[in-house]
């Protein structure tokens, strides 16, 4: 990791602070760890009144953690929180609110069955002269005033559930302003907005700026970064990797900063020279979960990556192939045979899904390691439908030995294993089922570094034995190091394919980002 910092030109780090004026808020040397991960490492961040500060970084770069510390949802392990030159302690979101910090997350916090005014002043209703009652006249008068401020021309008595996404966004902003927010944090606010709604939002942001409100803006859209930003901060792997002014940088440079290179991540593997027969062929597939016109192929002996930003539709593709979500158009062929029906049919055809949320979708936590290992392979192990505990136990013991699962016995509860070992159990259950196509959804999520390389060694072994692998990962470095090819998704579609030669983090990020 040192190498990353040294390669980053010091100029960028030192550069653009405004020449004059004190920052409204400053985070100094913030570090934050979670079990197994260092989410933030010595990050400093400052906002000045009246600026739009763009925060960039890949999935997992630490943007969300930083924002959560900013708004008091998390407490930093180390570092200082300085508000208008004074050091303050922020122990809860309420503390941050008192300093005028408001956050608008991607998922709104509005209550659908209350009206606009009730939502804006939720929990801060004006007391009437009669104790216990709300001064409704004042409520709607004040609400109207705030709505005027953000330029939302609507009756404050309108129920929130009848509003469009953009209007709800405006109500969120109005709510923040009614709390006299001086720092507004917005997490990808335009993700769900149309062009016109986006324009409207930008207009409101400019008005707020003119009033001296500072805006911290998280975005994946380069166009917005350059159109709105007064200053840019880039995070990667929990570290500050660069600051820039929009006039002095380019999209390419920002992508390079976001991607960098993970020097300590190397997965030695032999890449497929001669891929085998086509195992999975998807043509023109659309599904009820939103994905459109998906075409992809995976051959035996190949690891094919499926990448793109969170929400680009990767998991949905995996679920549709596996039959877990309904396919509405196009077709899925496994070993040339057209696939219809649910996950049970897919499993019989030789497909196994290793889902993203291991604990809720991959394992039965109240059951033992042995029971979890045997469960997918039951029909194959016991073709006459008579279950033999002895045979199941032997199968489990073989898998435990072969995959080096750290458990004292198959009778151990699977819940007490570490993340890496639990993941091995999920993979193992498909080995017992004789699976030939493995679909991995974020196979290394929540797994420590040592176990990660073991998981990749296992995946490598699978393809060496002729299995086919489709792998979703948000960590571009993993895709680049492991995959023979990769598809890149954006907006629920596949937008490109990268061959081994073109497979680089820069190319993945470039394809996956919005360049409108």
């Amino acid at each position: 990791m040192r190498a990353v910092m040294e390669r980053t030109p010091r100029l960028e780090l030192a550069a653009p602070f405004p020449a004059s004026g004190a920052p409204l808020l400053e985070l100094k040397g913030i570090s934050k760890s979670f079990p197994g991960v260092k989410a933030l490492d010595d990050v400093s961040f400052a906002v000045w009144p009246g600026e739009v500060h763009m925060l960039l970084g890949e999935n997992g770069a630490g943007k969300s953690s930083l924002m959560k510390i900013l708004c008091g949802a998390y407490q930093a392990d180390q570092g200082e929180y300085v508000h208008e030159g004074k050091r303050v302690e922020i122990r809860s979101p309420a503390d941050a609110r008192r300093l005028g910090i408001a956050v608008i997350f991607q998922e709104f916090s509005l209550v659908p069955h209350l009206d606009i005014a009730q939502n804006i002043f939720l929990g801060r209703e004006f007391a009437s002269k009669i104790p216990g009652l709300v001064d409704r006249r004042r409520l709607y008068r004040e609400a109207k005033a705030v709505l005027d401020l953000v330029g939302l021309d609507m009756d404050p008595r309108t129920k929130v559930h009848s509003l469009g996404v953009a209007q709800q966004q405006m109500v969120e902003i109005a709510k923040a302003l009614s709390q006299e927010a001086r720092i507004l944090v917005m997490d990808e606010p335009t993700a769900a907005l149309s062009d016109r709604e986006t324009e409207r939002l930008f207009e409101v942001m400019r008005q707020l700026q003119a009033k001296g409100v500072a805006i911290v803006y998280i975005s994946h859209r380069m166009a917005e970064v350059f159109a709105l930003g007064d200053r840019i901060t880039v995070l990667r792997d929990g570290r500050l990797v660069g600051r820039a002014l929009p006039g002095e940088t380019s999209p390419d440079e920002l992508v390079r900063m976001m991607v960098g290179r993970n020097v300590d991540m190397t997965y030695p593997r032999r890449f497929a020279t001669e891929p085998g027969a086509v195992v999975l062929e998807v043509t023109g597939m659309s599904a009820r979960n939103g994905i459109r016109d998906i075409d992809l192929k995976v051959r035996a002996g190949e690891i094919v990556g499926l990448c793109g930003l969170v929400g680009s539709g990767r998991t949905e593709v995996a679920r549709a192939i596996f039959g877990a979500d309904e396919v509405t158009a196009g077709e899925v062929r496994i070993f040339g045979r057209r696939q219809t029906g649910g996950p049970d049919a897919a499993a019989v055809a030789g497909v196994g899904l290793i889902p993203e949320s291991r604990k809720s979708e991959g394992l039965a936590l109240i059951r033992t390691v042995g029971e979890n290992l045997a469960v997918a392979g039951l029909p194959r192990l016991f073709p006459n439908m008579l279950f033999s505990p002895g045979r199941a136990r032997r199968t489990a013991e073989e898998l435990i030995a072969r995959m080096r699962i750290a458990t004292p016995s198959p009778n151990q509860s699977v819940a007490v294993l570490s993340g890496g070992n639990q993941q091995k159990v999920v993979i193992g259950k498909w080995l017992a089922a004789g699976t030939r196509l493995f679909i991995f959804d974020e196979p290394t999520r929540g797994i420590d570094v040592g176990a990660k390389s073991e998981i990749f060694a296992l995946i490598d072994q699978l393809v060496a034995e002729g299995a086919a692998v489709l792998m979703i990962s948000s960590e571009q470095a993993e895709i680049v190091h492991v995959c023979d090819r990769a598809y890149v998704m954006r907006g629920k579609r596949i937008v490109g394919e990268l061959s081994r030669a073109d497979l680089s983090e820069e190319n993945i990020v470039r394809m996956g980002m919005h360049h409108e």
Partner: protein, 324 residues
């Protein structure tokens, strides 16, 4: 953290699974009850009374055994009592009309099973929570049965048929043989078949079960069909024993059957329990009620005692499982 060194708990040399441990406690409780009742009353430890207890337990067990599988999947079947009513009245009619106990028995079993399949389809295909689906079914079945019977009673069946409920073989009541048969069959099905194992997996985590390629819908329909069919079995034995059918026959049996399953150690959250446990649960419940009768305790206290035992058994169970 290295993988090899990451073993969170060591393996005991003699390992009793939590399930077996919990079952032993229950058997112990049943044994203690027997000893206590033998000491406290003269009437308890007589062949007649023991056989009586077993026969009473058998009816409860038929219903509870079917319910056990439903509860193993994390569901509930509230319609079993009403199902007995419908199946018994239908069987009674068929016997009266055709004069054939065999056809009547088949009608009763078929009706019970058909009701179960309807429940299963509602739960699996329409994704209606089982509690709601079978609660609705309860009312529908009552409605049909009451309309059909119109307050009438059908009674007087051929002696051969009545043997099913009140006959003896080698001095032991026929229902007791049936109970042992279903106990063996149910245990083998749950513990020694692929389907049984899949039912445990569904109850332990339905989402993971589906994503593991288990045909969850088909297994759920099977389980509700089985529960319905066991209500059919109970209806036939009940009918043969009472020698008469009324619209509200079986109505009071749903809640005691659920009690037997819970006392037997099954979890309403699914994935935990066994048919044998339920058998012990049905035995404990019957023993307690029998003992109260013998001790001449006012019958009004019986529901109260049942409630206390259920809550106590579940509490003990949760406590036992929490300290892992």
């Amino acid at each position: 953290m290295s993988i090899a060194g990451d073993i969170s708990s060591s393996a005991p040399r003699f390992h009793l699974s939590k399930d077996v441990e919990q079952l032993l406690y229950r058997l112990l409780a049943a044994g203690l009850l027997c000893v206590a009742l033998s000491v406290m009353t003269d009437a308890f430890l007589t062949t007649n009374n023991i056989l009586n207890v077993l026969r009473q337990a058998s009816l409860l067990f038929f219903l509870a055994a079917g319910l056990t599988l439903v509860i193993l999947t994390g569901g509930l079947d509230l319609s079993v009592g009403a199902n007995i009513g419908l199946s018994a009245c239908l069987a009674a009619t068929v016997i009266k009309v055709t004069g054939s106990p065999v056809l009547g028995t088949l009608a009763g079993l078929g009706a019970g099973c058909a009701v179960g399949i309807c429940n299963g389809l509602m739960v699996a295909k329409l994704r209606i929570p089982s509690f709601i689906a079978t609660y609705g079914m309860l009312w529908v079945l009552h409605g049909i049965t009451y309309y059909y019977m119109a307050g009438e009673t059908i009674h007087g069946f051929p002696p051969g048929f009545r043997q099913i409920g009140s006959g003896y073989f080698l001095g032991i009541p026929i229902p007791v043989y049936l109970m042992i048969g279903f106990l063996l069959a149910g245990t083998i099905f749950a513990q020694r078949t692929v389907w049984g194992q899949q039912i445990y997996a569904i109850g332990a985590n339905p989402v993971a079960a589906r994503l593991t390629g288990i045909p969850v819908d088909r297994r759920l329909i099977l389980v509700y069909a089985f529960s319905g069919a066991m209500a059919g079995v109970a209806s036939i034995v009940f009918l043969a024993r009472l020698n008469s059918a009324e619209g509200d026959i079986g109505e009071a049996m749903t809640l005691p059957a659920i009690a037997a399953v819970l006392i037997g150690g099954a979890s309403l959250f699914g994935g935990v329990g066994s048919v044998f446990g339920t058998f012990v649960g049905a035995l404990i419940l019957t023993l307690v009620l029998n003992g109260m009768n013998l001790l001449a305790v006012n019958a009004s206290w019986q529901p109260l005692v049942t409630g206390v035992i259920v809550v106590f058994a579940v509490w003990l169970d949760m406590r036992g499982r929490r300290r892992t």
